[in-house]
């Protein structure tokens, strides 16, 4: 005979349809989203890993001021590496406000994946990066103007060495809006490259390094050989080339964040189930006692009460996974495609995703419910029959002052009676608020960063020169600049701009009274360096280290920078007195030949990080905010529903006594309101700390510094969002209280 208790399950499902529907939808969307995300990221990680061989991605590259000499080329080729010319030119686009880095078609190294259309076959055609094209609304067949000549876009492509569009490895963030990569025919390339050719060489090791340590040693060897012949403009090993490595590390990071998020959600849902189950056991204590007295085994009762949560999680996991592999995978993929210029990928069956989205949540759900059921069912049959499920006989009521009005005492009793529910509410509100704050605050953090940068720029234009050259432009101030690196420690080694500033410089207001240096607040805050400390930096392409005594912090948030007196600068770097290699100016300088200009830094350059973050994260932030609100509502809905159901008999009884619906609500709903509002308000500092920790940890892996600053208005917005969402739930709960009939009290008078 089939266990007749099983017949309760569909009825339970029917009578609690709204509750289970909400849980189903929520769990399905969480599991579906996570599974889709993991399947997409897993497939992309695989595609990304395979792309190193498939597209023969370089092990590093370096740029020289001139073409590589035959001796150097031969020495490198003979010793360690295969060398490939990978020259490029950078051009402003005429009809779009952007810079394009243009290459010949690569046939041997860093090969190109065609996403749409084809590679340029004839002169006058250009293939551009797919993401840059998307961000600037350019399609195949459109025309792109470069140096007044129109090029027809023949294809949208992904460069295997520019999956993240970093124009320089020292950029905090890639810029896929105003920076793109492109390829043209060899003829067109020759025509374009009449001036300012970047003599960039890619190399691959003859013997693949075993790990990053060995790769570093091998790169040092390559750099050593180059340094013997010439000074490179840049030397970028693959492991520190964000344009190549960013995708892999970002995909991996996303996976751990998203998995953690899934487990926390499952944990909360499991607790909600555990509370529901525990409440059901209390409600059905006498029935359980009778069943046990009749000979039902503890195991049979446990299995019975475990069945429903397990069905819910299993069905959610199955449906979620199906949706993950079909719908959500594409959503996640499109999110990645909107951030990175990824090549095509094939969906691969992801065992890890199955484990994480199905097996582990099922185990979590099972364990939490099992432990609670076992603990509850440890009590004797008699206790169940007597409906006395308290563990301790001596449990006394918490004393409440009689001076407190009865309604207040009543409410406090409701809170004390439902402590586990309220603790879960507090925990759930905290988590939902972190998600919500992430959604609301991150755009503000980015905006604030952008505003700070714009309002604290040293000047409108910074020109870094290849060689000193005079200008007649008024208000142009000479300065010196070089690049050093931080010593690798907790944080990765990072490029530092070292400025030599004349004491009369009108753009940098520092009075260098001592030999010490000033550091930008970005450097101070990111690397925790304070006034009085000694800062050690090293050469970018060498081993020499420099110690600087920090005399003060200068507010310059857009760059990891060190400022020193120009005389000290020349002494430190053994340069002639009066040396300079740059201008700061509040207007554009026109009288310097472009060939002397190494870099021109403008507002656009300084704000590209924030711009890209807004582009990549915009849709995700909206999604997160919505998710935070839904999660918030779900948790409060389920738990306050339990509280009201648990007290249905008391509510009915009190109604019999003559209490109105309003008074009942003020007792049972106001208690929840108090807890919810207090949770929202009191958890703000903790939410803020968690958010700060997440942001700082997440952003510290990027070069540069993005300060964590959330304006007070964001917290107000967040709290209002929570309170309004709660208002909606409270309305439904009020209706529920109203619907409780008087005869409940009379029927169950046991």
């Amino acid at each position: 005979m089939k266990n007749p208790l099983l017949k309760r399950l569909p009825r339970e499902l029917k009578s609690e349809f709204s509750k289970y529907l909400v849980i189903f939808i929520f769990m399905i969307s969480v599991i579906g989203f996570v599974s889709g995300f993991m399947v997409a990221s897993g497939s992309m990680i695989k595609a990304n890993e395979e792309s190193f061989d498939k597209y023969n991605i370089e092990d590093g590259n370096f740029e020289l001021y001139t073409k590589c000499s035959d001796e150097l080329e031969n020495e490198l080729d003979d010793n360690l590496v295969e060398l490939y010319e990978n020259f490029y030119v950078e051009k402003e686009t005429g009809n779009v406000d952007s810079t394009l880095r243009i290459f010949k078609n690569r046939k041997d190294v860093n090969k190109i994946c065609v996403m749409d259309g084809e590679l340029p076959d004839e002169n006058g055609e250009i293939a551009i990066d797919r993401m840059y094209a998307d961000n600037n609304d350019i399609g195949v067949g459109d025309t792109l103007v470069i140096e007044s000549k129109g090029y027809t876009v023949s294809g949208l492509v992904s460069f295997s060495d520019y999956t993240a569009l970093y124009s320089s490895p020292s950029d905090m963030m890639f810029d896929s809006v105003k920076f793109g990569v492109a390829t043209v025919t060899d003829d067109d390339f020759d025509k374009l490259s009449s001036d300012k050719m970047h003599y960039c060489y890619s190399f691959t090791f003859d013997d693949e390094p075993e790990d990053e340590t060995q790769a570093k040693e091998m790169c040092d060897d390559v750099l050593g050989i180059i340094a013997e012949h010439t000074i490179p403009v840049s030397f970028i090993p693959q492991y520190s080339n964000m344009a190549i490595t960013m995708v892999g590390s970002d995909l991996g990071n996303d996976k751990s964040i998203i998995t953690m998020f899934l487990y926390v959600v499952v944990l909360i849902i499991a607790f909600i189930f555990a509370i529901t189950t525990s409440n059901t056991i209390t409600k059905e204590a006498a029935v359980i006692g009778t069943l046990r007295a009749s000979g039902y085994k503890k195991r049979e009762i446990i299995v019975h009460y475990l069945t429903m949560p397990m069905i819910v999680i299993l069905v959610s996991a199955i449906v979620g996974n199906v949706l993950g592999y079909t719908v959500f995978k594409n959503v996640a993929a499109s999110m990645y495609y909107s951030s990175f210029s990824l090549p095509t990928y094939e969906t691969v069956w992801n065992v890890e995703a199955f484990l994480m989205t199905t097996v582990i949540p099922v185990i979590i759900m099972f364990l939490i419910n099992f432990v609670i059921l076992c603990t509850k069912l440890k009590l004797s049959v008699l206790k169940f029959l007597r409906r006395d499920l308290s563990k301790s006989k001596n449990k006394k009521a918490v004393g409440l002052s009689h001076k407190l009005p009865i309604m207040h005492r009543f409410r406090l009793r409701v809170i004390m009676q439902n402590m586990p529910n309220y603790i879960t509410i507090v925990f759930g509100v905290l988590l939902a608020n972190v998600i919500l704050l992430f959604g609301i605050a991150l755009p503000e953090v980015i905006d604030n960063y952008q505003n700070e940068i714009v309002s604290n720029m040293l000047c409108e234009y910074q020109y870094v020169l290849k060689a000193p050259v005079e200008t007649e432009t008024e208000s142009a101030e000479k300065f010196s600049i070089t690049s050093l690196e931080t010593i690798e420690g907790e944080l990765k080694s990072e490029s530092v701009s070292v400025y030599g500033i004349n004491e009369d410089n009108q753009y940098v207001d520092i009075d260098f009274e001592t030999d010490g240096v000033y550091i930008s607040n970005a450097l101070a805050e990111k690397f925790h360096v304070n006034e009085g400390d000694t800062l050690t930096l090293k050469e970018s392409y060498g081993t020499k280290e420099y110690d600087f005594k920090v005399s003060g912090v200068y507010y310059y948030p857009s760059s990891i920078a060190v400022f020193m007196d120009d005389v000290v600068f020349c002494d430190t770097f053994e340069l002639e007195s009066g040396y300079y290699n740059g201008y700061m100016c509040d207007k554009e300088i026109f009288d310097i030949d472009e060939q002397y200009v190494a870099t021109k830094i403008t507002e656009d350059d300084l704000t590209k990080t924030s711009r890209q973050m807004q582009t990549s994260m915009g849709s995700l932030m909206g999604l997160l905010s919505a998710f935070g609100v839904i999660m918030f509502m779900l948790i409060i809905y389920l738990l306050s529903k339990i509280i009201i159901e648990k007290n249905a008999q008391s509510i009915s009884m009190t109604k019999v006594l003559g209490y109105s619906n309003g008074e009942m609500s003020s007792l049972y709903i106001l208690s929840t309101t108090l807890v919810v509002v207090l949770s929202i308000v009191l958890t703000i500092p903790l939410v803020n700390s968690i958010m700060e920790y997440l942001c700082v940890t997440m952003l510290s892996q990027y070069p540069g510094y993005l300060p964590y600053y959330v304006p007070f208005s964001v917290f107000v917005k967040m709290a209002l969002c929570g309170i309004v969402s709660y208002g909606v739930i409270a309305f439904f709960e009020y209706r529920k209280v109203k619907k409780i009939k008087l005869d409940i009290a009379l029927k169950n008078r046991e």
Binding site: E284, A293, S294
Partner: protein, 232 residues
């Protein structure tokens, strides 16, 4: 002897609040006997019933049921003992609210390898027409009949009834008592019924009176009457 109860003692609480509920109970019951345990509140009758049912334990003494000592059983064995031999009926019916009448009875049948025919039992209980109703659609008497059905469907050797009519009106109480009487006669179960209603003693084979934890009298009823003839 089917049930042998020897020297059963039981106390609750310690120190000043110690209450000796049972102070040495000796009792023997034959198979198929209808025994009524009478006594005022606090006399220990429900405690004794619970010890016989294996859901409470004695401080000392022992109970042998069909040659098996209950005290020596582990919790698991006690569950099997209840599963095989016992049917329980309580004052409050303790039905499962979202199962129908029939299903509540099937919950009992499920525990037995050789249950009674549920349809026949429903007819005997007068619940055949109500079999698809949920407990909250039934009167108190119908609910108690369902609870009795659930207890006896597995055809237990012993039917333990703890104040089965305590929550029912006069007529319904008589109906229920009649039903228990019928069950006892038809299926031959040993029935032990706890009650404080003195009138019920007339339908019993044996009447045991308890007060302050001791048996004050234990008499066989020679002039047993049908439940329908009871009056109080």
């Amino acid at each position: 002897m089917f049930i042998e109860i020897k020297g059963i003692k039981k106390h609750f609480g310690e120190g000043e609040s110690r209450v000796d509920v049972l102070k040495g109970i000796d009792l023997e019951l034959n198979k198929g006997e209808f025994c009524v345990l009478l006594g005022p509140s606090g006399s220990g009758k429900s405690t004794l019933l619970n010890i016989i049912g294996g859901i409470d334990s004695a401080d000392s003494g022992y109970i042998v049921v069909d040659d098996e000592k209950i005290e020596e059983k582990s919790e698991k064995e006690l569950t099997i003992y209840r599963r095989k031999h016992l049917g329980y009926v309580f004052q409050m019916y303790n039905l499962i609210p979202n199962l129908t009448v029939r299903e509540n009875i099937e919950v009992g049948a499920y525990l037995s390898d050789n249950p009674l025919d549920v349809d026949e039992l429903l007819k005997t209980l007068g619940l055949f027409e109500h079999q698809r109703k949920l407990p909250n659609q039934l009167s108190g008497g119908q609910q108690q009949r369902t609870a009795i059905g659930r207890a006896i469907v597995k055809n237990p050797a012993i039917l333990l009834c703890d104040e089965p009519t305590g929550a029912l009106d006069y007529n319904t109480s008589k109906e229920i008592l009649k039903l228990i009487e019928e069950v006892n006669r038809k299926y031959g179960n040993t029935v032990i019924m706890v009650t404080h209603n003195d009138a019920i003693k007339h339908m019993a084979d044996r009447v045991v009176r308890l007060r302050d934890g001791v048996i004050r009298s234990n008499v066989l009823n020679d002039s047993k009457v049908s439940a329908t003839e009871l009056d109080w």
